[in-house]
Symmetry: C2
């Protein structure tokens, strides 16, 4: 068996790694969104192929004949690999793609151990319990309408509602209002009233701007809670988001499954996670993405046993390639 | 001036009334959704014309040459009456349509007075303060993403989240779960687990069913909170909805504007509204829809002064026609 190929395909960007069976990363490539659910199969296939081409070129590899691993959200929905098989074969990747969950890739990016937890809060939010190196139980990840408690969307929705409550006189004054209006380019003068309904003009502009977005795009307003200083409403949103994520993790916490919790996603990085009182969590580790984990899964899925030493070699050699 | 024409065009159904300038209702007609925003202008125009044709036929009227009044949500957005002018002219209605707000029609359905409040909670939720017979200040009505606190959508969203929290082990057990699953035709056996993620199968079915709906359709689940007996979670949703609607009304309450609050919409009818401590509210009146109010506005917009006696004649004669 020659070199291995691992891909961590996210909704924003995609990372590809070519590595040896002894865990040395030889090439790394990066491209745009490689998630076929959020970006469509054609776009996703192009971005994955682009990241893989870069990684193979950097590694000096013309062909990959081992089993390629592709970690992504919604991996279960893709029993067929048709959308990506052809485009990869065209650039010299001949094996049948094996899909892995993005949450497992997050876990394996921070842990060589076979037991523990992973939790991710970016635009959405979800957690898994890992037993014997495999996902054993999931929590949340139910999307913006039903769940994703503590996610970027969840926080962003609270932000826009706090501001519209303020502007509509139905809620308290908040420092989030000038921050959000500024971000949307809406004038801040609260003395200008709409003659028709007696409300501040800015409210009508806010309504127009928000409904012009896809709901999930409200996630872009999440960072405002961290920019609002000691605003009590922003602090309450942060506290509630943290509590929501803790509830998600607590729902799968088990004294029988002791190990690290690996945290991923932009929101969780800033928010922090309270884990006191959880029976299974031995420590918190943060990771930037699932790239190392995808490489670890490529090793395992090709029959290589990954111990601590091998895990650290993958982490170290990939960090060098990423600069 | 001959007979008058009034139309109360809602998102579910449309009511048309032909009446004399002395407030006697002569004909009544009913059809489907006449709101061009929710149903499209073509469909809305057809339904409005259908209700008007029925009302004119019942009144034995071949033509209407006074100013017709059309009350509907989003009336401000329709400065042009093009979508409805042609279809009405084709059935003998020659005047230029005057649009009025559905909230003002609700107020005028329950009050001949010139001062007071109206609040409606159906799929959405909004309130107005009325001064000198005209809308003076609005509150909420900001739609499902930004507001509509206490509305059918707002309650329905809380219901589906309570059930998904329960099924995902992240929230408490609730009597809403069997009610919602039954309504959606999802099997209730909580012992059947998905082998892939360790969660109850019913949760996956629930996610599929909910995301297949347009968000606003979650309003159809609102009635479940009233069917859940003494379930603490259902009771909390009801209490929060009531508090949200009270906050909306309180935000426009003024000691300088004393009068009745007229309540409309299916949700508010069941929920009830706490008004203790509001300075401007003298009493609560409930109405089924805005039909009487549309007729009152047709009288006023055609120069007729509507006093208590005239208001009561409209109410009485319309009730006879509606049976």
């Amino acid at each position: 068996m020659g070199n291995l190929l691992a891909v961590d395909a996210g909704g924003t960007s995609t990372r590809a790694i070519v590595l040896t069976t002894s865990g040395e990363c030889l090439g790394y490539g990066r491209a745009g969104s490689g998630n076929p659910i959020s970006s469509g199969t054609e776009h996703a296939a192009r971005e994955v192929a682009s990241a893989v081409t870069l990684a193979m070129h950097a590694a000096g590899a013309d062909a990959i004949d081992s089993t390629p691993v592709l970690a992504m959200a919604g991996s279960r929905a893709h029993v067929s690999s048709e959308w990506i098989g052809g485009p990869l074969a065209a650039i010299g990747v001949s094996g049948t793609v094996r899909f892995e969950s993005d949450l497992l890739a997050t876990f394996c990016s921070g842990a060589w151990e076979a037991f523990g937890y992973a939790i991710v809060a970016g635009t959405g939010a979800a957690a898994i319990r890992v037993v014997d190196g495999r996902p054993n139980r999931a929590a949340d990840g139910l999307g913006w309408l039903l769940g994703d408690d503590g996610s970027g969307f969840w926080i962003g929705r609270r932000v826009v509602r706090a501001v519209s409550d303020h502007l509509d006189d139905r809620g308290q004054t908040t420092a989030l209002t000038p921050l959000l209006l500024d971000m949307l380019g809406i004038p801040l003068d609260l003395r200008i009233l709409d003659p028709e309904d007696g409300r501040v003009e800015s409210l009508k502009h806010l309504v127009d701007e928000v409904y012009a977005l896809r709901p999930i795009e409200l996630a872009r307003f999440a960072p405002l809670v961290f920019a609002a200083g000691d605003d009590p409403l922003a602090a309450a949103i942060i506290a509630d988001a943290r509590a929501g994520l803790r509830t998600t993790l607590a729902s799968i916490d088990s004294a029988d499954v002791r190990g690290p919790v690996v945290c991923g996603g932009g929101v969780l990085g800033t928010l922090g996670l309270p884990v006191d009182g959880l029976a299974g969590v031995t420590e918190i580790r943060k990771v930037a993405d699932g790239a190392v984990g995808a490489a670890v899964l490529a090793l395992r899925d090709n029959g290589v046993n990954v111990d601590r030493e091998l895990f650290e070699r993958v982490t170290r050699t990939l960090a060098v390639l990423r600069g």
